[in-house]
């Protein structure tokens, strides 16, 4: 692996890992709202949560630019606070995470909907308040789904190209994740070999994430048994 490839690999790991980990709690909140709350306009919120999925990534990147760019309403605020997103690896995470977000919400939501409400009720009767129930019953029971959400969020963020390059551009060592490197390689006639190698690295990362998730699931099942 060349130094540049190693850098892209490392950066991808950071960018996608951060996107998945930061995205998960947000996805839980969003999934909770659409799965558990009933209010007018719920379907609209649900649809908006799907927006990054149905829009071309470039458009999402562009929208992020409008919002989080130094001229954008949020970006201007962050800029004052000394936080820069455009052209930074944090920005790459934001873009990749935004694209992965609908998938994470979906996975969490499916998991939440599969939790037996009678068990939450039972916990309530045993004195557990909302947050207590959430953290001791609902989320642990939904854990396989949460891990699925992490895996899919990580995988999608790992593969995200259009939104990242539009929002964060390709700054080697900062925002040049594996997909950007693969894309670069492929655009150059004869770059197939490099692209293939980078693609295999991406896939290995995904395999590693899957194995990790399965190990986590098993560990969780064991933990409950011993405690």
């Amino acid at each position: 692996m060349s130094a540049l490839e190693a850098e892209a690999l490392w950066l991808s790991l950071i960018v996608a890992g951060r996107a998945a980990l930061v995205g998960l709690p947000l996805a839980i909140v969003a999934a909770w709202i659409v799965a558990r709350c009933r209010f007018p306009g719920r379907t609209l919120i649900d649809a908006l949560l799907h927006a990054p999925l149905v829009l071309p990534p470039v458009v999402v990147g562009f929208a992020l630019l409008l919002l989080f760019g130094v001229q954008g309403p949020i970006g201007a605020l962050l800029d004052k606070a000394g936080i820069r997103l455009v052209f930074t690896s944090t920005g790459a995470s934001l873009a990749a995470g935004t694209m992965a977000f609908p998938l994470m919400v979906r996975a969490v939501r499916q998991a939440l909907e599969a939790v037996d409400p009678r068990l939450e009720e039972a916990a309530r009767g045993l004195g557990a308040g909302f947050w207590d129930r959430l953290f001791t019953i609902t989320l642990p029971l939904a854990a396989p789904g949460l891990i699925a959400a992490l895996v899919i969020g990580f995988a999608a963020a790992l593969g995200e190209f259009g939104a990242v390059i539009t929002f964060a551009a390709n700054v080697p060592g900062e925002t040049q994740t594996l997909p950007l490197a693969i894309y670069s390689a492929l655009q150059v006639p004869g770059g197939e070999r490099i692209a293939l190698r980078l693609a295999l690295i991406s896939l290995s990362l995904a395999v590693a994430a899957l194995l990790l998730s399965e190990w986590l699931l098993r560990a969780m099942r064991r933990e409950g048994r011993d405690a």
Binding site: E121, A123, R124, G125, G127, A128, A227
Partner: protein, 244 residues
């Protein structure tokens, strides 16, 4: 005193039950399958939705969210937390209570669940599951205990062990218990007060004598003839009886 008045609609079923129960005894809810017994317990312990009140010594429990009502409930299906060991299930309510009258070891011993503590509910037998659920409810140190056919899945021996424990419990902690059962003997043994339910309504309320059937003490045995001093209604001559 426990003063219950509940009004609910469940699909095509109308529940409209009001009764009172002594605050330190066992009140048996008795009635045919589908009469509304489990629904009454659910209305007392669950989220407040319909009309009515559940006053325990004057305070209306329905004014509190379920998690602050201090009601222990044993459901007809055990509802153990599948992702926790039996021990963590038992300690779940215990940990969330600021009292400690009912001890972990005592409950584990009486319910004979020590060998199960490290197991997951999915691997338990029906009776084992039910015992764990009883333990969990007891250990939450409730002010009011609701039990829905808690012993139905247990064998006679186990029942005979748990019943006296429940009796001690009510004596020691002056805990009102609402007890749903289909078993006349069980009810008569435990109950201080009986509420008969049918089609969602209370049809009668009174002492254990309300229950048909009889129990007594064997006073003489001669050949295959057994003489019993009976309390409660007397069986008719010629009728077929089972002694348990």
């Amino acid at each position: 005193m426990l003063d219950v008045a509940i009004r609910r609609r469940l699909g095509g079923f109308a529940l409209e039950a009001a009764f009172t129960a002594p605050s330190d005894g066992v009140t048996a809810l008795f009635g045919p399958s589908g009469a509304g017994k489990s629904s009454i317990l659910a209305a007392i312990a669950g989220p407040t939705t319909g009309e009515g009140h559940v006053r325990l010594d004057g305070r209306d429990l329905l004014a509190l969210p379920p998690e602050r009502r201090r009601i222990g409930i044993v459901h007809q299906d055990s509802r153990l937390f599948p992702h926790m060991t039996v021990e963590r299930n038992l300690r779940y309510g215990l940990r969330r209570s600021d009292r400690s009258g009912i001890g972990f070891d005592e409950v584990v011993e009486v319910l004979a669940i020590a060998p199960l503590l490290s197991r997951r509910p999915a691997t338990l037998s029906g009776g084992e599951r039910q015992r764990a659920a009883i333990g969990r409810a007891l250990l939450s140190q409730p002010d009011l205990l609701l039990m829905d056919e808690p012993l139905a899945a247990l064998d006679g021996g186990r029942k005979a062990e748990i019943l006296p424990f429940l009796e001690t419990l009510k004596a020691r902690f002056r805990l009102p218990i609402l007890y749903v059962t289909h078993h006349v003997g069980e009810a008569r043994r435990l109950a201080d007060h009986v509420v008969l339910i049918a089609e969602g309504r209370v049809v009668a309320e009174g002492g254990p004598e309300l229950l048909a059937g009889a129990e007594g003490e064997v006073v003489g045995v001669e050949g295959d003839l057994v003489t019993i001093r009976v309390s409660g209604p007397l069986p008719r001559p010629g009728s077929h009886v089972t002694l348990t």
